[in-house]
Subunit: 392 residues, 2 copies
């Protein structure tokens, strides 16, 4: 185990109807002039925004709003939000939505109190402070409701990069699983895939002796295999959605990852896909992560994958040939993804093998290497995209 | 899943030598006049207290101390600590020790800022405020370093009861696994047993549809079976101790229990044992918890125990007779406890079958019932003590 600091002071409010107390929690955490950030029309049509406005009104809070956040959220709206927040003297940002909305809210929160260009924080600078952020979560996927991370796409350069800082951990997050019931089965499955990927990005590590967090990460994936299938069978199953929603937070607030070096190469390779093709992040991960596993099984001793195969997917260990077991584990993972309707190939997400050289360049690693578990150079990244492009 | 609030804002500082930064963290959380609470002479002899004093001095903090906390900590020392804290105008309590020391520190923290008798908080009253508490953990067991709980024994009445409040969650906890290396194998095994019991008190629940946290709790126990055996084979194994230490916190800060009704009857029945015989809490649990399981297997459908047996202890499921599987699971649990040197019988902890009526009365439940998973009346409690008394 590595030495580490861990601090996750978000107040979680979990259960049916809890969004009706949103105003109370904004007040508890010192907000008085609130900007509500949200995505498309569904938050309006469903009546959710009205309920939030009522709750804020009951608590005597001023509110303005910024709608229009899109998946793979763009820098343009962040600049707009920063200007609005300054003009309106906003002191609290409330995100009502999923990861894209929350990440946009976090970017506005940092940018509003910063003299320079907020993009600095997505280019390596760490912010000292930010406006407080709260969330009302409507998609279980990103874990952004409990994390110190935000990912934004620069629409000029198509760079999709992350900022990370304790000051953007949400002060509170309202988690009502009912709010995810309006998602399509495809969006729901993309969320489950994202949650599993957050476990696996931590699970594949070279840090030795991390049995406690290994077992916890395996627990998250095992639960998602069960609840993922259950929610696809019955999209109105509150309990399945509740288990998925809590898992998404626990898995990504880093209580089961702080003790280890983490990989995140699947995310890096996927961010380029969704930046170029605007595919859903979870769908891109379903294509890239198993291809990354195929590559890493062959370029490592394979034992971490054999552990995944036996402990998570119930494969038999082949002690004469652990890589056989490892490959069976990757196959079982692909079969699960397929069973919940996820794409596995370039073709299914509208990506093209002709773009591979461009995709490789967009990873922007020069002649260096990236990642922790198996370090990848440009040739390795190209090979992984080719594996994904050749899946039929 | 139940609706719930979850808020665990403790800052964790994990790794070798991290106690040397204690002063820095006290300052970060606003302390200037510090009372160091500790147990016996080992903290002095080992040089740990000197290192802490140096760290506080480097940060320019005033410090006084209160030593002498004993296992199963008593109310008398709490009164002494409250008086000292008031006289010295203490604004921060630093616990250097295990659960008994931390729980004493929490009691002093509540009592110092309260007009009445601190014991009110152990009789059902919830405190509004407390002095801030920090910890330097030296025993992995109680989880008190990340929990809102404190357990104290009233030395007049021998009542051993708990207080629970968010205001006594530690502001920070320093967790250096090296500090646990001076513990005897017996004390180490008692800690592992306590951690497993904190998982099982949550695991055995009637709340349906808690697959995510079930899998996480199973993960904790699986890791403790592995690391518990490993640390007994080699008490100087830092990595095993690190895994045990982090598990003890994660398991008890309630991130994997907030969504469910919990039982805690094994703890209730054990508190009476350790109040009467002053046995180590973990040892009392090793005797009581399997006896409680024996009883509950027969007084439930047994399926939760069959789940434990198959998922944790690798038993085969007998679909014709699930209770057979359940019993095999309890047997496997006893075998594990025995393998790490834990007692299983009344005899081994100096308890006597002749005291059973007294023990039952000390549970103080009148004609009512206690507990969540299988509610116990006096006759049931008597039966469980008898099971434990008859183990040879």
């Amino acid at each position: 185990m590595k030495s580490f600091d861990f601090y996750a002071p978000t107040y979680f409010v979990f259960g049916r109807g809890r969004e009706n107390d949103t105003g109370k929690y904004i007040k508890k955490f010192g907000g008085s002039r609130v900007m509500i950030v949200y995505g498309g029309q569904s938050a309006k049509r469903s009546g959710l925004l009205d309920r939030i406005y009522n709750s804020l009104k009951e608590s005597g809070l001023y509110a303005t709003e910024l709608g229009g956040v899109k998946p793979n959220p763009r820098s343009g709206l962040v600049y707009e939000g920063i200007e609005l927040a300054r003009n309106e003297k906003i002191d609290f940002i409330l995100a009502v939505g999923g990861g894209s909305v929350i990440d946009t809210a976090k970017a506005i929160a940092m940018g509003t109190v910063y003299d320079g260009d907020f993009w600095d924080f997505y280019s390596g600078k760490v912010p000292d402070s930010a406006l407080p952020v709260g969330t009302v979560l409507t998609i279980a996927a990103s874990g952004s409701e409990g994390s110190p991370d935000s990912i934004i796409t620069n629409e000029k350069t198509l760079e999709k990069t992350a900022a990370e800082a304790d000051c953007i951990r949400p002060k509170f997050s309202v988690m009502n699983p009912e709010l995810t019931e309006s998602l399509s089965p495809y969006q729901t499955a993309c969320g489950v895939t994202d949650i599993i990927s957050h476990a696996f990005e931590r699970y594949f590590t070279n840090t030795p002796d991390v049995e406690t967090t290994d077992r916890l990460l395996e627990g998250i994936v095992l639960a998602m295999l069960h609840e993922g299938r259950r929610v696809m069978e019955d999209p109105s199953n509150y309990e399945a959605r509740a288990n998925i929603m809590w898992a998404g937070m626990v898995c990504h607030n880093d209580i089961m990852g702080a003790d280890r070096q983490q990989d995140w190469n699947s995310h890096h390779l996927e961010h380029v896909l969704s930046a170029l093709y605007d595919c859903t992040h979870g769908a891109g991960l379903a294509v890239i992560m198993p291809a990354w596993m195929d590559y890493c099984v062959e370029h490592s001793d394979g034992l971490r994958f054999a552990q995944m195969a036996t402990r998570i997917f119930g494969c038999q260990m082949d002690y004469n040939d652990p890589k056989r077991t490892a490959r069976a584990g990757v196959e079982a993972f692909r079969n699960f993804l397929k069973s919940i309707g996820m794409p596995l190939s370039f073709e299914e997400i509208g990506a093209s093998a002709n773009d591979i050289d461009k995709l490789v360049e967009m990873n922007n690693i020069g002649e260096g290497k990236t990642g922790g578990f198996v370090a990848l150079d440009k040739a390795a990244i190209k090979e992984i995209y080719e594996i994904a492009a050749n899946i039929r």
